[in-house]
Every structure is written in structure tokens, then in C-alpha cells.
């Protein structure tokens, strides 16, 4: 839709992004499994960008509504996900300080 992206370039982006993801997480202490999953989950709510783009380009109110609902779901995931992860991690932090 924004059109500045050719199909092949996008595939390169996909492959390199996946490789990056594989490399970023190697060893994870079991303590962090739950917070890491929760944090990664919040990041996957980045579909909110697509929802925003949809709202921006939608010609009809009906389509804008679909975009708004999609945005709502994505933000529920993002805001909730980051906050809940922070709540979990805050506990580890406090004890380290003691």
C-alpha cells in the first residue's frame, strides 16, 4: 500500500529479520522464561502499525471501524503486555537492590 517496497526486498527483510531473531536469544535463565515470553508477546502486538495504516487508508467508515477494532486488539496486547512484563521484572529488581 505504501508501495515503496518491492516483493523481493521485502523477502530479504523477512529472512534477515528471522536470522536476527534466532541469534538474539541464545541462553535464557529459566527465571526469565515467563517474562521473556510476555515481553516478546508485547512486541508482536506491533501489528498496531498495520491497523493504523488501515485506518489511514480506509475510504469508508465501515473499514475504518475494522481498523479501529484491530488497533484496539493490538493495543490491548501491547500496553497490557509491556505493563505486565514490567510488573514481573520489577520484583526481581527490588530484591537485587536489597
Amino acid at each position: 500500500m505504501s508501495g515503496h517496497l518491492s516483493g523481493t526486498a521485502a523477502l530479504w527483510v523477512l529472512v534477515l529479520g528471522s536470522l536476527l531473531g534466532l541469534e538474539l536469544i541464545g541462553k535464557v535463565p529459566p527465571t526469565l522464561h515467563t517474562p521473556l515470553m510476555s515481553g516478546a508477546n508485547a512486541i508482536s502486538g506491533i501489528t498496531l502499525l498495520a491497523a493504523l495504516a488501515l485506518i489511514g487508508q480506509a475510504p469508508t467508515p465501515g473499514l475504518k471501524l475494522i481498523g479501529a477494532v484491530a488497533l484496539g486488539f493490538a493495543l490491548f496486547n501491547v500496553v497490557g503486555g509491556f505493563l505486565v512484563t514490567d510488573r514481573m521484572l520489577a520484583m526481581f529488581r527490588r530484591r537485587e537492590a536489597n
Partner: protein, 470 residues
């Protein structure tokens, strides 16, 4: 140019954020970094496309963001796994809706765009319905119905998958209507794949679905032509896969057996239910008083907390008991099995909430050699992770799972509500060992009466300083 640098900046921040989340020291700031990256990405996008349709954006922001914040701040730490599942499902739903919206835009999609819409719908739906089923199972709203475990389920799932593919072909041939059956079928497929998985394996499934939601996000990125979305989605998808693998290793389960093997021990559950009660013959039970007397004379004590402790909300009582014993000069530690609780790392979070000092939590491999020189082990609401059968009985479904070797300790007290089987539904030989005594009751009540008994024995009235010398 500004937009581009903002986009690049947020990709970098995301990558550093994800990396930092895997280390204890940096995890919290990394989480903030990732949140900042998402915020930046939104700013970049809005600079690019303008604020057209802002009332709709505010609507989504207010309702979705607001509800998410309220839930995140209110939810109890014990229900963390199901909360993550719910959030994840909503991410999948968002990708699904974006794809459905994108096909209705006046600008026609090219082939890559069309395929991406299909992937987005398929994966988004599976993520959504699968995550909701996972949440229902963790909340114990849903069980594992017997009929879902019949081998025929594979046939049904495969048929549904084939039908999904057929719908995809139809859409590519120009029949956009086929998106409707595709959505319905892939939602059902998500249910069909998740429903037979046993509760104990649910964390792995959630982690895998989390990876899927990354894939769905990347597909949505193709649909709207956003490199940032593709990179971020691919990163989360790949990282989620690695995390799933790490979790499988910790639980000694292979991904295929989690996904296609059905509930752990489910095949034998009928037999054990029938003969379950008379199977335990040599169980000794004791009162909190007797337990307190043994504790008072001990030098080294290890607590083994499990999900039952969390359910009884007894973390704080446990912390109190531990402090009392320490004041009495007793060495206290907590043995943490990698999958204690209902999700790897869940128990650490719960004990952290009760302010248990970090250095007293010891991972399984580090504490196992110490059990033989431990006077008292108290198992609180844990079952399968202390089952010696995992080492001795090759026919047991638990066989090969690393367990805490509490049977090596001099005396073991198991605090449990009844002799019911564990989460995996498997008999526990530990309960019948001569050094084991069962203390029946709710974990919190038992801990409270232990505290009372110990105080009446004079424990904790030792002059201050006695506990801090070690």
C-alpha cells in the same frame, strides 16, 4: 528522511530490547526499551501518513489500551500464564482483522500481498482461537475431553488444514468470498490443535503461539508494505521458536510430542483413577505439631514450592516461616524446578512477589547434590517435579524428566490437600517412602499452624543477631 531514521532507530531498539530481555540484569530496562521502540514506530508511521482518521485511532487506543492497562495492573501473579495467553490471542485477532480489512481497500493487492493476507488470516486465526483455548485450560474452565484424544483427531485436523489450503487457492483465483470459510476453518483448526494438549504442556503451546503471532505480524507487514513490521514480526517469530525449544528442553519434552502426543499420562488416567485410592498403601501422615518438632531440631532445610503453594496464596506465609527458621540459626533455601508453577520461571516470579531473597532460590542442578545432607525437605503443593519414578521407571510417562531428588533427604514432609494425583495424573512413589510424612491440608493453613507451633516452642525468640552471623 526523518521517518526513515525513526524507523531504523526503532528496529535497533527492538533488537536490543529483545536481547536484553534474556538477561536478568538488563531485563527490565530492555522491556522499557522495546516499549519505547514501539512508541517511536507509531510516531514514524503517523509522520508518514498523517493523522487522517484520528478519532478512530483514539477510539482503538482508549478502549484497547485502557483495558489492557487495567488488566495488566490488576491481574494476580498466579494467573500470569493465562494472561499472557489472552494478550497473545488478541495480537492474533488484530492481524486477522487487518488482513480482512486490507482486501476491501480499493487498491488491488499484488500476489505477494494476496499471499500475505492469506497467511495473516490463517495464522492470526489459529493464534487467536488457540490462545483462548490455552487460557481456558490454564484457568481450568476447559478440561481435556476424552474424545479429543482419539487418534481420529489427527484426521480431522489434517482435513481442516487441507480445506484451509483449498480456500486459499480459491482466494488466489479471485474468489474473495472464500476468505470467510478460511477464517472459520482456521479458527476451528486452532481449537482442534490446542484442545488435546495437556495442561502441563500448555506453556510450550503458548510460547509457540506467541511465535505464530510474530509470523502473523510479519505477514500483516507484507500486506501494508511496512519493512519495520516485517522485521519485528520475523524477529519475534524466530525468537519465540527458540524460546519454545528452550522450554521443551527444560521440561524434557519434544515439540512433536507436545503437539501431537496429547495430554501427558492421559492414556493411563482411567486406570489410575479406578485403582488410585488403594494404590497408596504405606503412607504416613503427620500433624503440623510433629512437623514443627522436626523442623526445630534441623540444621538445613529446603523448601520445594509448587503451584499448589501459589493457588493457596501461601508465598507470604512461607517467607515468614523461612525467616523464623533463619532467626533460629537454620539454613533455609528454596529448590526451584525449571517448570515449577505452570510456566517456566513462574515460581521465581511468585516468590519474588513475596520478597524472598534472590540468593535463596536455587536451581535444580545446583541443589540436587545438597539433598543428601539436608535434614528436612518440605514439599509445598509440588508433585510431579519430585517424583522419583522419573528416574527409576522407564514405563512412566515422566521417565527422563529431570526431577528434584528430595528422596535423598533425611526427612521429607509433603504438604498436600489430599492424595490426588498431580497435574500430569501420575502416581508419586515419594509419598510411600519411609522418610516421607504427609501433612494434609491447605498449604497456607499448614504453614500458619507450623508458625504457631514453632513460636510456642520458643523458636525465633533467640537474641537478635543469631541468624545474621552465617
Amino acid at each position: 528522511m526523518v521517518e526513515l531514521s525513526i524507523e531504523l532507530g526503532s528496529v535497533l531498539l527492538l533488537a536490543f530490547g529483545l536481547k536484553g530481555l534474556a538477561k536478568i540484569r538488563t531485563a527490565r530496562s530492555a522491556n522499557g526499551l522495546a516499549a519505547l521502540a514501539l512508541g517511536l514506530a507509531v510516531v514514524g508511521l503517523l509522520l508518514q501518513q498523517g493523522l487522517g482518521g484520528w478519532p478512530w485511532m483514539l477510539l482503538g487506543l482508549g478502549i484497547g489500551g485502557g483495558l489492557g492497562a487495567v488488566l495488566a495492573l490488576r491481574v494476580a501473579m498466579t494467573s500470569m500464564p493465562e494472561t499472557v495467553a489472552l494478550f497473545n490471542g488478541c495480537g492474533g485477532m488484530s492481524s486477522l482483522l487487518v488482513a480482512i480489512g486490507a482486501v476491501q481497500l480499493p487498491t488491488p493487492l499484488n500476489l505477494v500481498g494476496q499471499v500475505s493476507v492469506l497467511v495473516s488470516v490463517l495464522v492470526g486465526s489459529i493464534t487467536f482461537s488457540g490462545s483462548l483455548v490455552a487460557m481456558g485450560k490454564l484457568q481450568e474452565w476447559l478440561g481435556t475431553p476424552g474424545w479429543t484424544l482419539r487418534p481420529q483427531r489427527h484426521v480431522v485436523n489434517i482435513l481442516m488444514a487441507v480445506a484451509c489450503l483449498a480456500c486459499c487457492v480459491l482466494v488466489l483465483k479471485g474468489m474473495a468470498v472464500a476468505l470467510i470459510p478460511l477464517t472459520v476453518l482456521s479458527l476451528l483448526l486452532g481449537v482442534g490443535l490446542t484442545l488435546p494438549v495437556g495442561g502441563a504442556d500448555m506453556p510450550v503451546v503458548i510460547s509457540l503461539l506467541n511465535s505464530y503471532s510474530g509470523v502473523a505480524a510479519a505477514a500483516a507487514g507484507f500486506v501494508v508494505g511496512s519493512e519495520l513490521l516485517i522485521v519485528a514480526g520475523a524477529m519475534v517469530g524466530a525468537a519465540g521458536l527458540i524460546l519454545t525449544q528452550v522450554m521443551c528442553t527444560a521440561m524434557n519434552r519434544s515439540l512433536t510430542s507436545v503437539l501431537f502426543g496429547g495430554a501427558l499420562g492421559a492414556g493411563t488416567s482411567e486406570a489410575s483413577e479406578a485403582g488410585g485410592r488403594e494404590e497408596y498403601t504405606n503412607v504416613t501422615s503427620c500433624s503440623p505439631e510433629e512437623c514443627a518438632l522436626t523442623l526445630e531440631a534441623a540444621e538445613r532445610v529446603i523448601f520445594v514450592p509448587g503451584y499448589g503453594l501459589a493457588v493457596a496464596q501461601a508465598q507470604h506465609s512461607l517467607k515468614e516461616l523461612a525467616r523464623l527458621l533463619e532467626q533460629h540459626g537454620i539454613e533455609v533455601r528454596y529448590a526451584i524446578h525449571p517448570v515449577a508453577g505452570r510456566m517456566p520461571g513462574h515460581m521465581n516470579v511468585l516468590l519474588a512477589e513475596a520478597d524472598v531473597p534472590y540468593d535463596q532460590l536455587v536451581e535444580m542442578d545446583d541443589i540436587n547434590p545438597d539433598f543428601p545432607r539436608t535434614d528436612v525437605v518440605i514439599v509445598l503443593g509440588a508433585n510431579d517435579v519430585v517424583n522419583p519414578r522419573a528416574k527409576s521407571d522407564p514405563s512412566s510417562p515422566l521417565y527422563g524428566m529431570p526431577v528434584l531428588e528430595v528422596d535423598q533427604a533425611r526427612s521429607v514432609f509433603v504438604v498436600k490437600r489430599s492424595l490426588g494425583s498431580g497435574y500430569a495424573g501420575i502416581r508419586n512413589d515419594l509419598f510411600e517412602l519411609p522418610q516421607t510424612s504427609m501433612v494434609f491440608g491447605d498449604a497456607k493453613q499448614v504453614l500458619q499452624s507450623l508458625l504457631q507451633e514453632l513460636r510456642s516452642l520458643g523458636v525465633g525468640k533467640v537474641p537478635a543477631g543469631a541468624g545474621s552471623t552465617r
